[in-house]
Symmetry: C2
Subunit: 240 residues, 2 copies
DNA sequence: CGTAACCTTGATTAAGATCAATTCTCGTGG
DNA sequence: CCACGAGAATTGATCTTAATCAAGGTTACG
């Protein structure tokens, strides 16, 4: 079998019929990356977007001095790097289109499908449902980035951290977990503290101190990558 | 005349035929705001998106302490507040959909059209061209927000200011101005320094000092809202 | 002109980055 | 199975940037 992976796990492709799925797969390439490998840089010309079949990917920007800021952590089922595909239609476009951020695999065996522009744009023209899914995922990202900017520019590190923890609890409860109303809830970080710091717009030292602060305020308890939430209500209040 | 304004100046509606234009206008409302008036808050339930027929609108977030951060300055021809319309299709959606930021008119006579969800979604289903335009404008915004986050989290205020100036020169040259290669170019700020500071993620005092710094480095000269660029190449280098 | 909004300048403070030194954790090979 | 070593995380001391606080100065507009 040339393409062993099932691309219907990718939200964007979940509504396609057999023929359409095969078309996409015939034009696409699947590749596995190990931890730390770069998928693309934000200086590279756009050659197709990506969908995650397995693993974890970070999308990030990096400064001249090497400081990094993570915009998104993407999980399997998500697509990324689609932005340039739709910028073609924008007025006043000059230079070649590049990816809007850097992408790196965060786990070994991170498997992605790379879908070239042409066949996908053909498909989307005949399939309005795909545009709607694309719009939905762009909308979700826009709101996320709005909130992210708000967080980073208007709150201090401890508040940002609290918000992050609350969002992670929310995700966990969405996907089957019981809400534990009042009781002690916990999350297990799926990324390193370096990456968490970078996502919160800070560095590991400052994150470490922020974790201590929340702990000494009796809001959480930290055991390595496990964070117990001792008082969800107080934590919610803290973010305000 | 019930609807005196021409909505075809709005990019999203520019390709519509007469009948479609009339349908949109029949379902929509047009209103003029004066400087400082709120169009919507980020806590308000979504009741339709907006298009600017005339004037200037800022989209911003505000902290509990009253500090503000501007995400976008929108000009006539742009639409805003569309995000919630496409979030309906997202999984795990609970609470009522609200606007993703606050919106305020920055000039007197800012005239906007408010388009309700229902008739627009009908139109978009039959008109794939509109989805493409919507995707193009979302893509543009996503790249802008990516770069904005990079700026705010990875650069100091003077660098952010330099980048802003260079982007404004770019816009000006796009829309008819001559590139003035090597010569002295200038921009005229169309927003207050308070708003510029807020967009750069800082406050007026710090912006004032950043302007002085660029001036003392001989990169620019400031005369009120007019900024002369004395050395474009050096300014570009400075942002790196 | 007069007054309010806008902008600038100076002095001080605070948050977080940087620098430096341990300590902790975990995977790998002996 | 244990020991080692490297990467990850923590802690402390110091420094830097920009926010805050406090006056003045400028501009624009009724």
């Amino acid at each position: 079998m040339k393409h062993p992976n099932d691309i219907s796990t990718i939200f964007l492709f979940s509504g396609l019929n057999e023929k359409e799925t095969l078309t996409i797969r015939d034009f696409s390439t699947i590749r596995t990356y190990s931890k730390g490998e770069i998928i693309f840089f934000d200086t590279e010309p756009f050659l197709g977007f990506y969908g995650i079949l397995e693993g974890l990917v970070k999308l990030y920007k990096i400064s001249a001095e090497g400081r990094e800021h993570i915009l998104h952590i993407m999980y399997s089922g998500s697509t990324f790097g689609e932005v340039p595909m739709f910028e073609e239609f924008t007025e006043n476009r000059k230079s070649e289109l590049v990816y809007p951020a850097n992408a790196m695999a965060l786990e070994d065996n991170t498997t992605v499908i790379k879908v070239p522009e042409k066949p996908f744009m053909e498909l989307i023209k005949r399939n309005p449902d795909i545009s709607m899914k694309m719009l939905a995922s762009f909308a979700k990202r826009l709101r996320f980035l709005n909130n992210h900017i708000e967080s980073v520019t208007l709150n201090d590190v401890s508040k940002r951290l609290s918000k992050y923890i609350l969002i992670e609890i929310g995700k966990k409860n969405d996907s089957g977990g019981k809400p534990e109303s009042g009781g002690i809830d916990y999350i297990e970080l799926d990324i390193s503290k370096y990456d968490l710091a970078s996502h919160l717009g800070t560095i590991t030292e400052t994150l470490s101190r922020a974790l201590r602060k929340l702990q000494s305020d009796n809001l959480i308890e930290v055991y390595g990558k496990k964070i117990l939430i001792k008082n969800t209500t107080a934590l919610k209040n803290y973010t305000k």
